[in-house]
């Protein structure tokens, strides 16, 4: 499929994917070594936690729902939410999706199996769907005086479940898996999940971005488009109408997963700063 003459090693072809999995599992393990071994580095769960008994970390979307739900925000949670938001605004909003979120492992598995089994059924809702779901979650939070999305959120259900006890939450996780496997290609993360939509908004200003720095070397093999969970973000940087356009992938939808760096045999992409102006 690729045009390279030197076969690239397994590590070269999968380094970002492996790093991502390591990160996802390491974060989970950080939460688990508390209850398992009484090593309390990270206490709580993705909704809110305390790092080394000092630094509060709070999910800004959960706190936003709490606020519109009519609750007066307390300082600890506010500091935690600003910290988390700042981190993602720096390293890429949807880094949450590809480097932290445990559901991503589930949906990636569904996508892998879907490809293996050649499942063709593919319902593709509009891209904006997740923004509408995000809006609906906030509206319901305001109207019902509750943190609405947390009642059904598979992300926190799974993560909290692994750390505190799963109960029937596995059913919701299974539903997401089956949806991505048999109904919609990358359906959950790319079209429906409002958590990703929210972090995508944070990602609009993110400093760390993927860049198609050596786009002149592109051989149009299409590998990056096939592997990308949000392929629409690539074209403006890789195939711009104006050759002077920045090679940086600016869309907040990009999850900085780095899979395009893995698969590109021509080494077109690079992870770097946002302000790279010209192709290298």
């Amino acid at each position: 499929m690729t045009t390279t003459t030197h076969p690239r090693s397994f590590l070269a072809r999968n380094q970002w994917l492996l790093a991502r999995r390591t990160s996802q599992i390491a974060i989970l393990v950080l939460f688990l070594i508390g209850p398992w071994f009484s090593v309390w580095w990270l206490k709580g769960n993705l909704a809110s936690s305390v790092f080394l008994d000092t630094l509060p970390l709070t999910d800004p979307l959960v706190l936003l729902q709490s606020y519109v739900g009519g609750h007066t925000i307390e300082a600890t949670a506010l500091v935690g939410a600003i910290t988390v938001f700042a981190i993602y605004a720096l390293i890429g909003g949807r880094v949450y999706c590809s480097w932290v979120c445990p559901i991503n492992i589930v949906t990636d598995a569904a996508h892998w199996l879907r490809t293996k089994l050649h499942i063709g059924v593919n319902w593709q809702p509009r891209k904006a769907t997740r923004l509408w779901i995000l809006g609906a979650s906030l509206a319901v939070s305001a109207a019902a005086g509750a943190i609405a999305w947390e009642l059904v959120n598979p992300v926190t259900m799974l993560q909290r479940g692994l750390v505190f006890g799963l109960g029937l939450a596995w059913i919701i996780v299974l539903a997401v898996f089956l949806f991505d496997l048999m109904v919609s290609r990358r359906g959950w993360c790319s079209y429906l999940c409002p958590v990703g939509a929210f972090y995508g908004i944070a990602g609009k200003v993110a400093l760390i971005r993927v860049s198609a720095v050596r786009r002149s070397a592109c051989t149009d093999c299409g590998d990056c488009f096939r592997v990308c969970p949000e392929p629409h973000v690539i074209s403006p940087a890789l195939k711009p109408r104006d050759p002077n356009t920045s090679p940086v992938i600016l869309s907040g939808d990009c999850t900085n997963c780095g899979r395009c760096l893995d698969v590109c045999a021509d080494d077109v992409f690079e992870m770097g700063g946002r302000f790279r102006k010209r192709p290298g």
Binding site: A47, S48, S66, A77, A128, A136, T156, M157
Partner: protein, 227 residues
């Protein structure tokens, strides 16, 4: 018309927006209904000390479990989906592990959002629930006139929150465990200690017992002379 060409595009856009808004509306209504439904908490699930009233708690608790981690007696647990309590919110079952009423109230201290209110500084002012002698017919002291006072002895504020009151019925004398609602915190030590197979004294949510609190089963105006 001059903008004949632009119109179908615009119309399509408007139509898709209406479709999206409609779908989001339907989802929102379902989510809202579910949200209202999940504000109903079963009577056996007791919230930690300092917990806001249930309808405020739903917007305040982010389900992080820091109160659970702070509890030195493993009293608190986070509801799992299927428990019957809103998933991720903290509660305890008095009969299993009651609240030990720590002086420094670590669960409240740990709460990052104020869902467990820091206004609670004296654990004796906690209003987790209120103990009620639910089965006088099985209570050894009342039904059999036995010298059982397990609930009384277990109470961390005995003589104030609970006392054994001498009663007389049909010429038969006995001592009845008597809860004083204004002092009872609902810690559940009495319910845990009760020796009957099914506890004869139970902690109930305060709004079930005191109808003057919001969210109670009967509107305030419909009840005369509560407390």
């Amino acid at each position: 018309m001059a903008d004949n060409e632009a119109k179908p595009g615009r119309r399509q856009f408007v139509a898709s927006c209406i479709g999206m808004a409609g779908s989001a509306g339907v989802l929102g209504l379902l989510l809202g209904t579910y949200s209202e439904q999940s504000k109903a908490r079963p009577a056996w699930a007791i919230r930690p000390p300092g917990a806001l009233a249930e309808e405020d708690f739903a917007a305040a608790c982010v389900r992080c479990g820091l109160c659970v981690r702070a509890c030195p007696f493993d009293t608190l647990k986070l509801a799992e989906l299927g428990d019957g309590v809103t998933a991720g919110t903290p509660y305890f079952v008095a009969r299993q592990v009651p609240c030990e009423m720590c002086k420094d109230i670590p669960c409240v201290e740990a709460c990052p959002t104020g869902a467990l209110s820091k206004n609670l500084t004296d654990i004796r002012k906690a209003e987790m629930g209120v103990a009620v002698l639910t089965s006088r017919d099985t209570c050894y002291a009342v039904a059999r006139g036995a010298n059982c006072r397990a609930c009384y002895l277990a109470c961390p504020i005995k003589d104030e929150a609970i006392s054994m009151e001498r009663r007389q019925t049909d010429g038969r004398g006995y001592f009845e465990p008597t809860v004083h609602r204004d002092k009872c915190t609902g810690c559940g030590k009495c319910e845990e200690a009760c020796v009957t197979a099914e506890a004869s004294i139970k902690v109930l949510p305060r709004d079930l017992v005191r109808h003057d609190r919001p969210g109670g089963p009967v509107k305030k105006s419909g009840v005369a002379g509560n407390r």
